[in-house]
């Protein structure tokens, strides 16, 4: 790891100020992606601003048909929350499948979505449940937040503070994890809102989370795994690596979407 200078701010405002003064500063939340990346010398921030312990970023509140999760909330806290399990069980199940127990006790929701790894789980939840992201400057619709591989709508120095997930009528998440890394080869979140609107969001398959309108239309007409028979995404723009070809991932999208609908019930 290259040299860096560590800062521990006492508030979001102080964190933003520290970040703006740094030559090439980065926010450190749980560090479960950033620190391994720095160890490999693939990242070399001049300064680290540690927002992992900021009280104003912590906590889960459920009310008014919404589950609101502070950006600094750990995956393990979401996975272990009885409130989340009661309101959106698919969200708790998704958090329980991220990485491993030790990663889940450090990694945060805000860190995951700000990094926007193409194979991360949380982007599927944010888009698949139609969540709203709140930052230090504004609110951003989940559909507009993820803009490309490791790219988001966040401006320089903008800090994710919380994410509000509307409680759906039904939701399910199914993931085919890479057996070594536990990242999603393909993960699919499906939901049916209280207004009947259906969402199908896919992570792991492409450069960035995406929705599948053909599946959404089919499920809106008939909410059952069988409704997805014969509906497949094109392999043209999907990821291909040693773990699976683009065609393999395209097939997995339909398989995981069906399993997600079955899980949602």
């Amino acid at each position: 790891m290259y040299e860096t200078t560590y800062h521990r701010p006492g508030s979001i405002a102080e964190a933003a100020a520290m970040l703006s003064k740094a030559a090439d500063g980065k926010l450190l939340a749980g560090g479960q992606t950033l620190i391994p990346t720095m160890k490999q010398r693939l990242a070399s921030p001049s300064d680290l601003v540690d927002i992992g312990g900021l009280a104003e970023l912590q906590g889960i509140t459920v009310g008014g048909g919404t589950v609101t999760i502070g950006a600094g909330t750990k995956h393990g806290e979401v996975a272990g929350s009885a409130d989340v399990a009661a309101a959106i069980p698919a969200l708790g199940a998704l958090a329980e499948g991220i990485g491993d127990p030790h990663v889940r006790q450090m990694g945060t929701l805000g860190g995951s979505i700000a990094n926007n790894d193409p194979a991360a789980d949380y982007p599927a939840a944010v888009v698949g449940l139609g969540a709203t992201v709140t930052t230090s400057k504004r609110t951003i619709a989940g559909d507009d937040f993820f803009t490309g591989m490791f790219e988001t709508a966040l401006d320089e120095g903008e800090i994710v503070t919380k994410v509000a997930f509307p409680v759906p009528a039904k939701a399910g998440y199914a993931k085919f994890p890479n057996p070594a890394s536990r990242y999603a080869m393909v993960g699919v979140m499906v939901s049916k809102g209280t207004d009947g609107a259906v969402r199908v969001a896919v992570t792991g398959a492409g450069p960035c989370v995406f929705r599948v309108p053909a599946m959404e239309a089919a499920l809106a007409a008939n909410w059952s795994p069988a409704a997805l028979d014969g509906i497949a995404v094109s392999a043209a723009d999907l990821n291909a690596d040693i773990h699976g070809s683009a065609e393999y991932r395209a097939n997995l999208v339909t398989v995981m979407a069906k399993r997600a609908v079955a899980a949602a019930g």
């Binding site: 560590y6 620190i35 990485g99 006790q105 890394s181």
Partner: protein
């Protein structure tokens, strides 16, 4: 250099470290607590698991400065050679180790697992919860047996105490 202070195994410690120093290196090099191992150095294997403020974390994926002010427990803080922790005893009884390199991390992960999920565990839960700890000797079978046995004994001890 930055001065860090923390409580390690109940003892207040301090040291001067570079900001990029990993917690595991501080524990091993500055404090001489070499029971915590570095297996992969890529956040995969779990040999470096310690408890920070009661949570099991990979100490190779946390900076020492991040842990400044925290309460840290390492394998040296769990049981003694004369009086092993029930989890250590269960690993010994069930032959849950061969070379022993992964064992400190396995023990720390197991203690955390029983704390979070209780003593009423099934095999599927144990296998899922050991996702973050790699063993290249045992094939995991005896480790799973040891975890289940430790949970059972700890449940019995708790019932006896009540």
């Amino acid at each position: 250099m930055t001065k860090v202070t923390m409580t390690v195994n109940g003892r207040s410690v301090a040291g001067d470290v570079e900001d990029r120093t990993l917690l595991v290196d501080f524990l091993r090099s500055n404090l001489g607590l070499t029971g915590t191992h570095v297996g992969c150095d890529t956040s995969q294997c779990g040999a470096c698991v310690v408890h920070v403020d009661g949570r099991a974390v990979k100490s190779c994926t946390m900076l020492a400065v991040q842990a400044s002010g925290a309460d840290v427990t390492t394998i040296e803080g769990i049981g003694t050679p004369e009086a092993l922790h029930p989890v250590q005893e269960a690993f010994r009884e069930n032959h849950a180790l061969q070379c022993g390199f992964c064992t400190p991390g396995m023990i720390m992960a197991t203690v955390d697992l029983i704390k979070r999920k209780g003593t009423d565990l099934d095999e599927a839960t144990v296998r899922h919860e050991l996702d973050g700890n790699i063993c290249r000797c045992t094939g995991y079978h005896n480790i799973v047996k040891a975890v289940l046995s430790a949970a059972e004994k700890m449940a019995g001890a708790k019932a006896a105490a009540e």
